[in-house]
Symmetry: C2
Subunit: 599 residues, 2 copies
């Protein structure tokens, strides 16, 4: 061992002892005849002192140390005159007697400090240096602890972690597979799993009863900001359970994680139906750290989210509202102070193509209780008073109103506006957590593209028993035994009770428009297994990267992944992917055929 | 929940309580007016009783239950008159009041019993039924527990589990990579990691200090009996350590695993040099459950395994021995009773092409102490007496002798013969464990094929400091700071201290015959990282599948893998790999070009 202690553990009580330390030179400072070196390792920083008077040549050696050199020192622990209360070892320093240079370092391309001078690209290229920064290191430490506590909890609950293969066949998951050519089976390909969905259901058929796995999954998608081509899932499945059992079990897991890792006692998770989430938040993953829920001012387009017709509170007069199928609003407490310029910014925000609203109507409740709005000329003060009361608005509040011909689209726009206002009003504190279950998802959603109902979750999801009769009469209104866990507006996990009855499965396939032959061709493998006594079962999967980034209070999942890929799916550190030899292609019986412009 | 209890937990103390159970019908038996059903789940088997007198229609229902049907029952726990001491629930049975058929099953293709009537192929095809057999299930339970205890131990020792990517670049590991075409980077390929070797060394450069990962690795090799294209490694690396620190740490882990999982206190692991292992056992992974070590009767070919010349104990006369460079023998206690036919079998065994010996010489020590051998006509009784003494043989022992022109080849043949005799003599009991470290591996081995020295471990392995001067004078004799953990003749893990000094690394590359340019091209990526202050570090990796199969007392690693692949790399259950659509190939800019005979 090159050390007797780490750089994070020495305290005043160690004063007088002789220790051997090793680590990286964080920085050196000269003061008169003294040279101070901050020595760093994973565990902390310890101050080393070299005294010219005591040992001039040793001190000279120390003066030559560069940033990030790797050294070993032997010295005596001594009380510091000038204590540093910001670090745990701040009471002591090491009076160095022996200095051993283990390795030199050329100058790093950026400073290894919490506030680095390195941009994203350079830090990713030299990720092995980036990870030396304590803010990055702490994310990886948190991730380790998180995964370990997941395992501890699930092990205690009788779950078995079972590894499923990575070289599999195409799964009916919907996204694009990564494929792996098989040399031993020329012309054939493995697929990398988008999730172990099929395999975990087979493990239930196999009687394994309670399965989990922390496992890499792969999707060859065009990457958005917060997606990675390979990501990690906490994948779980249980037999002989109903939805309630799963909600209880995994609510328990979340509670354990918050307590063990963050020291937070989270309250029992509220359950919100998908319909309520859409109606009140315009999202199936509502950020419930703050209120500002939607008020429907008009809705003549009943749907799965809101089955009631709401008569408009506005008399005819303003064409936009008159022609709207849906008018919804939020009340922003104390924001009547918003200037015209700020309102214009908000209007631009909702009109951005990603959001797509046509415009924004606002109403300020003034100090005297009267309402001043952007639609004053169309409506009487009495109508605006009705608005104020309907919105439960008080003096100083700002009401923001969106409308349109498609209720669901307007809700989603209003959702973005609500989140934007929440951020501006400081209501989305990353260190506060609001967790809930969203339940009762619809079984199907209509696809304009495919002109048919599509499975919202996946085709093995069980309908709610009480809705089964509706499969024949009104399939679009059938609710599923499906559930998502949402934390701070992020879907951290989701799952469903699966269908274990072959006849019901058949019917679901019919509604999805599969002929028996197509169903057999696409899902026959799992359906065959189900003929041998499939138990009732269900499960869920968490996105580990996402869950950990919430715990680490990060903006992006990338920061809690040791070696992430960029938006083109490249690992810039490894410089992967890359070209391979023709001989390797030949062995795989493959030819690369680039389109002309890429050659 | 479909049950209040599992099928493994009811005891006599539960008699009188009403329970709900669910599971699979293992078998049904009729006795007079009673029907008995064995109900099975992961936790055990519970006997259900249906009484025709009490409820004729319920009993009739029970009589219709088929094997592997999934049922739920409610009933009263009752003491059994005819107790079954072989199962933990054998004292009780359930007097069923309600029977609920949850799912039917068609007849399984083989019996779901420990002694199944299904052959390997059919069991692999229906692996989800095979896993229902308790002998298979127990292997997966053991594997879960094993991995969990590995994590518990390493977490306690301050190791962080850090996930490294699966989509990487080609690694300098030696075997063939699986590759993954990148759609977003046309014509380019990711490689699946053969091990995270490079990445874990980068994590040491990154200051993570103690890393581990239980991780899938991939090698596209032609599969031998006990290899899988994807396998799982316990991958570990530590900074600021010397070899001794690593041996201590991982000996501790093995001790913890044996204790926690098998309840066995293993003794401190002996350390055997590679030279002694080769000299005495003819293998770098000696099975030390039994002795029967080699005796050199002649060796005029000193090498790294045995540097001493041993004069032949045999005077000239028998050409085979006269011309041999090496004669080695083992003494098989009490085996003088071997018949001529048995000896002939052994001779055939060593002459098989996989072993390749030219013949086998034997000598029996008879009851009167005299020696009767197959070479009596060449040697005097005095010479045979010398042999007997040299072999430490006593009356009733059988001496088996191999010889040849290449000491190392003969040792390997003699190793096979020793193992065969160990098996025949019942000395290789799977429930007994003998663990050791094999240390001081040579840095290099000569490759006849490449006509150069090759790295025995990998090119980052550090030489023993005291052997560094030999790099210039006699590189073939340089020993490495490399070590393997061997259990019962199986290499379960191995690793090395890595080189962290750029100049030493340079020299090693030179000896391996790389020009600086070649070294830069092949390993430049890691060498560049090492310029920024690489700490001294080292590590090792265990084969999880192999280690678990030893604990499970299995012959093949396949039996402790949920969904293994066959020798052609196929998953016969999933029917993977398979063909993919032309459109998918087009997206990847690939064409399949099968050789004519395979089209």
């Amino acid at each position: 061992m090159y050390r007797t202690k780490t750089n994070g553990e020495l305290r005043l009580s160690d004063a007088g002892t002789t220790v051997t330390l090793a680590g990286w030179v964080q920085r050196t400072r000269k003061f008169g005849g003294m040279t101070f070196v901050d020595l760093r390792d994973r565990y902390g920083i310890t101050q080393l002192v070299f005294n010219e008077e005591h040992d001039a040549s040793l001190c000279e050696q120390a003066n030559k140390l560069g940033r990030e050199w790797v050294i070993q020192v032997i010295g005596e622990v001594s009380e510091r005159s000038n204590k540093n209360p910001n670090i745990p070892t701040g009471d002591i320093e090491i009076l160095v007697k022996t200095l051993n240079i283990l390795n030199e370092s050329i100058t790093p391309p950026f400073t290894i400090e919490d506030n680095s001078d390195g941009g994203d690209d350079i830090r990713m290229k030299y990720r092995y240096l980036d990870i030396r920064r304590s803010c990055v290191r702490q994310n990886l430490e948190l991730r380790h602890k998180f995964a370990f506590e997941v395992r501890r909890y699930l092990d205690e609950q009788g779950f078995l972690e079972i590894e499923t293969p990575i070289l599999v066949n195409s799964t009916p998951e919907g996204a694009r597979d990564f494929v792996v050519p098989s040399r031993m089976n020329p012309g054939q390909f493995y697929a990398l799993p988008q999730s172990p969905q099929t395999l975990k259901q087979l493990l239930m058929v196999a009687g394994m009863d309670r399965y989990f796995q922390i496992v890499k999954c792969f999707r060859d998608e065009d990457l958005r900001a917060d997606r990675q081509p390979e990501f990690t899932q906490i994948d779980c499945e249980m037999s002989y359970v109903e939805q309630e059992d799963i909600l209880q079990m995994f609510e328990g897991m979340s509670r354990h994680l918050f307590k063990a890792i963050k020291g937070i006692d989270i309250p029992a998770l509220p359950r919100m139906t998908w319909a309520d989430a859409m109606k009140n938040y315009g999202s199936d993953k509502p950020d419930t750290r703050f209120g500002m829920t939607f008020v429907e001012l008009k809705n003549n387009q009943p749907d799965n989210a809101s089955r009631e017709i709401v008569e408009s509170i506005f008399p005819a007069g303003f064409t936009v509202f008159d022609e709207a199928a849906y008018i919804g609003a939020i009340c922003c407490e104390g924001q009547a102070v918003y200037t015209r310029k700020q309102i214009d910014q908000l209007t631009d925000f909702v009109k951005r193509p990603q959001i797509g609203a046509k415009g924004l109507v606002y109403a300020r409740v003034q100090e005297d209780g009267s309402v001043k709005s952007s639609v004053d000329k169309f409506y009487t003060p009495e109508t605006l008073e009705v608005l104020k009361n309907k919105m439960n608005a008080k003096a100083g509040d700002l009401i923001l109103i969106l409308s349109g011909s498609d209720a669901m689209k307007v809700r989603k726009q209003l959702c973005e506006l609500r989140l934007e206002m929440g951020s501006r009003m400081g209501l989305r504190d990353k260190s506060k957590y609001s967790c809930l279950w969203v339940i009762d998802f619809p079984m199907y959603e209509w696809s304009d593209e495919e002109q048919r109902l599509m499975a919202m979750h996946h085709p093995f999801t069980s309908p709610k028993p009480e809705d089964i009769p509706l499969l024949d009469t009104d399939p679009a209104s059938v609710r599923a035994n499906a559930y998502d866990m949402v934390v701070n507006g992020v879907e951290v996990g989701g799952g469903s009770i699966r269908i274990h009855d072959a006849k019901l499965q058949q019917k679901i396939f019919e509604i999805l428009g599969f002929t028996p032959e197509q169903a057999q061709q696409k899902f026959g493998f799992l359906m065959n297994a189900f003929k041998y006594g499939a138990p009732p079962h269900g499960g869920l999967a968490y996105g580990l990267d996402r869950f950990v980034s919430l715990f680490a209070e990060l903006d992006s999942i990338r920061d809690c992944i040791a070696f992430p890929k960029n938006n083109s799916g490249r690992d810039v550190m490894l410089d992967a992917p890359g070209f391979i030899d023709q001989s390797q292609l030949d062995e795989l019986c493959l030819q690369v055929a680039l389109p002309a412009e890429e050659k």
